[in-house]
Amino acid sequence: MTSLSARDITWTAGRAPILDGVDLDARPGEVLGLLGPNGAGKTSLLRILAGLRRPGRGRVLLDGTPIGQLRRREVARRLAIVEQSPEAHTDVSVHDVVSLGRTPHRGTFSALGAEDQAAVTDALAATGLTGWEDRLWSTLSGGEQQRAQLARALAQQPEVIVLDEPTNHLDVRYQLELLALLRGSGLTVVTALHDLNLAARFCDQLVVLQQGRVAAAGSPADVVTDALVRQVYAVEAVVDLSPHTGSPAVTFLGPAHRP
């Protein structure tokens, strides 16, 4: 079981500070939800967590080891990222896409082995894409592309998975299925989410970013409050425990007057 932590992450794009002293701890096997309004720095933080950007200050620890000290290929075997709607420049089949997940496990010239093929098949099944292997990327809808990307990340057989708003293009059913899948996977998950209700229900922990800083962190019940929603999103809301799920449920009333 693997943990993923960030310590005092600071990141600047040009002169604009994007992240400022962010701490975060994704515990082994738990789902950590990353919330925050547009432009709060969620995507930047996820890229830094995945080792794709080097932070200006601070460090990322994969199971206690600074991610910068690990070999790229080793990181790729242990950590996968699903970005927000990546575009393909050439038309590839769903099978090609999911097979990409085997890249860090394969030699340069070795064909897909039995183990690779099994990982691909499992990933396709988990995302409901069995039988779609030969569909071309350009013919998929946004939600289907997102599921194919998730399948690719699962085929990587990582210990930690980082996702940037994976429920974005999905219909309600697939949103629920995806989050249940992540919860049941046993993987350590860090995922940016927009939907507070889904986040409160499926995440073990929440971290709320506001203008590059952590505005709140902790269990959904501690984090998702009407005060926080007003402070971070400038929206009046009522939060109560859902009698059906037992999780905090947010009812949005309307935009609050900005202070």
Binding site: A88, H89, D91, S93, D96, R135
Partner: protein
Amino acid sequence: MRTGRQRRRVRHGSTALLVPLFAAVLCASVVGATFIGTAAIGPLDVLGVVLRRLGAGSLAPVPPAPPLIEALVWESRLPRVLLAAVVGLGLSVSGAVLQSVTRNPLAEPYLLGVSSGASAGAVGVMVLGLGAGAVTLSTGAFVGALVAFGLVLALIGGGKVSNPARVVLTGVLVSQFFSAITSLVLMLDGDADATRAFTYWLLGSLGGARWEPLAVAAALIVLGAACCLLFAPALDAFTFGWDTAASLGIDVTRARVVLMALAALMTAAAVAASGAIGFIGLLVPHVVRLLAGGSHRSLLPLCGLGGAIFLVWVDAFARSAFAPHEVPVGVITALLGAPAFAVVLRKAARR
């Protein structure tokens, strides 16, 4: 949709067989194209000459050919056909690599200013006498191609810019600039004969093929293509951009720099040996992708072999179809390539 699925499933199974098939077709094409031409030479004569030259004369199927025929086959036809194969291989692999490295379906050495750079380099040697006679036309073209190519790649941020329109416009810009230099030099300094010889060279021709330059081009191109193959996983991983590739364990910066350098080298070697032959790098990879899918482990070898076969036959056509006139091979590839380019452009614009 169902038929589409079934069609692709067949493809998956047969990709592994396509490489040996393409290799066999290439061998047959080399022999076949060597006996096509004005003098009547049969395929067995060609085989006989080759075997005798390789010191295996006892295996030759026919008695020795007359010395004139033997010289024609060995000194003129065969180097020409082999050069066509090598140049076709280099330009196709280069195109496939560039399309992945710039993440742009329109990337192609010819469109990226290589030919105009080569012509500026060649005219510098031919007319201005740069290098004081120590440098050949080919070397001038080689250097010019590398300079123009490097300039285009630098202007598109080493491939960071993947917007098709901007990449193509950058190629046009650099091409126009080097063409202007070439024209200026020719206007100020060249005589009518030099201009005409130069124009012919510019259109791309394999007519001047000899063993020695062929060996140099073949060494550079085959070695370059083999090195590209080492980066096949990276070329695949680039499909969804640099971040996804890096998250799959690819050293993106290193792979891109090495691959662009290899593409530039192969292209420059091809252009120096044969002049500027356009559109192969666009045409062949797109056709091969339709046949064999997207994985570069099989795509690169198939592009190389397919490009070789394609140019061997286009050249055979160019030198025999309008006999006694010989049409520069670049004219034929452009006649085929320009419409193909229009199709790809439409597809790219839709994405």
